[in-house]
Amino acid sequence: MSQPDVLNQAFELGYTYTRSTGPVIGRFLTELRNRNIVGIKASDGRVVVPPMEYDPNTAEELSEFVEVGQQGEVVSFAWVKEPREAHPMDVPFAWAMIKLDGADVPMIHCVAAASEDAIATGARVQVVWADETIGYMTDIRCFELV
């Protein structure tokens, strides 16, 4: 008796669903695609960037969006002299907590700088947009010193 043909079925490993980022994160990412940055007002009135869906202290649902500036101030930084393969830059750079103009809470992103001496706490930085924006956090390619 001959062997039956082996059954074959093409298989692509991947998620069979798409995921919605919702009205808050989704709004922020859509604004990034349009090269705008928005924050949201927390229960105590502080402007939080990137926006949060709920206030971490009161658990109140947040909804009041505020457009913020594309420049800001370095609140703290870490100098990466040996970037890792996964890092967004392949030359030495800084991670920084950046308080954008009009925001009250700093956000974390990377800052391009020629050397550690070039950056300092309190330094002014501005957004560098990716060549193509797609509604992703990396639409902000990095920040650069003003």
Binding site: L29, K81, W95
Partner: protein, 352 residues
């Protein structure tokens, strides 16, 4: 409420690379050690088993299930797992006993971090939309925290170096330590910056290993006839995942957990703090208000060896060891999880 006691604890050596030894082979020696301490045969002789591990370290979904191979789970046992440090597996086990569902429990935690790039693996525990896509690693986040403290004058680089020095010197008496030696603060300060403002010595090493513990009601501990220490309090608190909204120079959640666990009801002779970065030990000891009467991290702490998913449980085990040996009567242990001390657990231990 039933009083609960620790009756056995074992930590493996903390090694930088366990080589071909797999997770089950790391777990089995610590399990057989705690079974032997208590005088029982295997996991069939306890009422509940709970483990702590992280599938991201192994890079496979449900990898923790393989760890159960170390138990011999036939006939079936009552078993659970937390995707956290095993200190939280202890917490779950305490709840299980308090609910009357068990009289004893085996807890174990394990982590083989060496095969991956741990700081990058840790980046994937962050906010999935805002931070994980940037691959911002755990060391960089701690460096941002350290600079906030340095800039505000809350610490100096020498303060950090003194923490490292004390850790390395204390670790000389810890046979399981990975990094130990007579290192002076000046030796640390002479090191070049690694990820400014952190030097390599400010950062805990990457380690492989496991630890295990057995707890029981005091009645059961007496029945077993082994030395034990009472867990008089345990509590854990978490802060927001938004690092920008936290005061990174303080640890509010640690302070709250310690208060709720009853730390202030007596003298704290020893404190084992899970501080993966030197400056974080200073944050924790200040948040807890620890003074000169408290010996901090006599084991060397995790700067001397950091078993992911087991070091929190080991902090508690270290204090247990010092109580049953008669060295101290009361102490606290702290465990942490998440970036920049986001989630903190405090356990208070007392002599029986």
């Amino acid at each position: 409420m039933k009083e609960i006691a620790i009756v056995g604890f074992k930590q493996s050596d903390s090694v930088s690379d366990a080589g071909a030894v797999n997770e089950v082979e790391m777990i089995m020696p610590v399990l057989s050690s705690v079974f032997q301490q208590v005088g029982i045969n295997n996991a069939q002789d306890v009422g509940f088993v709970c483990s702590g591990s992280c599938d991201y370290l192994q890079g496979a979904a449900f990898a923790f299930v393989a760890g159960v191979d170390a138990l011999g789970a036939v006939p079936p046992i009552k078993e659970s797992h937390v995707e956290m440090d095993a200190a939280w597996a202890l917490y779950e086990s305490i709840l299980k006993i308090r609910m009357g569902h068990a009289e004893s429990a085996l807890i174990y935690g394990f982590g083989k971090s060496s095969p991956g790039e741990l700081p990058i693996v840790m980046s994937q525990q962050l906010d999935p939309y805002y931070l994980a896509p940037l691959w911002v690693d755990s060391i960089s986040l701690a460096a941002l925290q350290a600079r906030l403290m340095l800039d505000q004058g809350l610490i100096t680089e020498r303060d950090m170096a003194e923490v490292v020095s004390r850790s390395r010197r204390n670790a000389m008496n810890n046979p399981h330590a990975q990094l130990a030696g007579d290192v002076a603060p000046d030796d640390v300060l002479a090191e070049e910056m690694y990820l400014s403002p952190l030097r390599k010595a400010d950062i805990c090493p990457v380690s492989d290993g496991a630890s295990a513990m057995i707890i029981a009601t005091v009645d059961k501990a007496k029945e077993w006839g082994v030395p034990y220490a009472i867990i008089s309090g345990i509590d854990h608190r978490i802060e927001t995942h938004n690092l920008g909204m936290r005061d990174l120079t303080d640890s509010v959640s640690t302070r709250t957990a310690a208060k709720r666990a009853g730390m202030d009801a007596g003298k704290v002779e020893v404190a084992e703090l899970y501080a993966p970065f030197s400056h974080q030990e200073i944050i924790l000891s200040r948040a807890l208000g620890l003074g000169d009467e408290t010996r901090i991290n006599p084991s060397g702490g995790v700067l001397a060896g950091n078993l992911m998913m087991a070091s929190g449980l080991s902090r508690i085990g270290e204090v247990f060891n010092r109580i049953v040996s008669g060295e101290v009567q009361r102490g606290i242990a702290h465990a942490t999880s998440g970036p920049c001390l986001q989630h903190n657990l405090v356990t208070v231990l007392e002599k029986a």
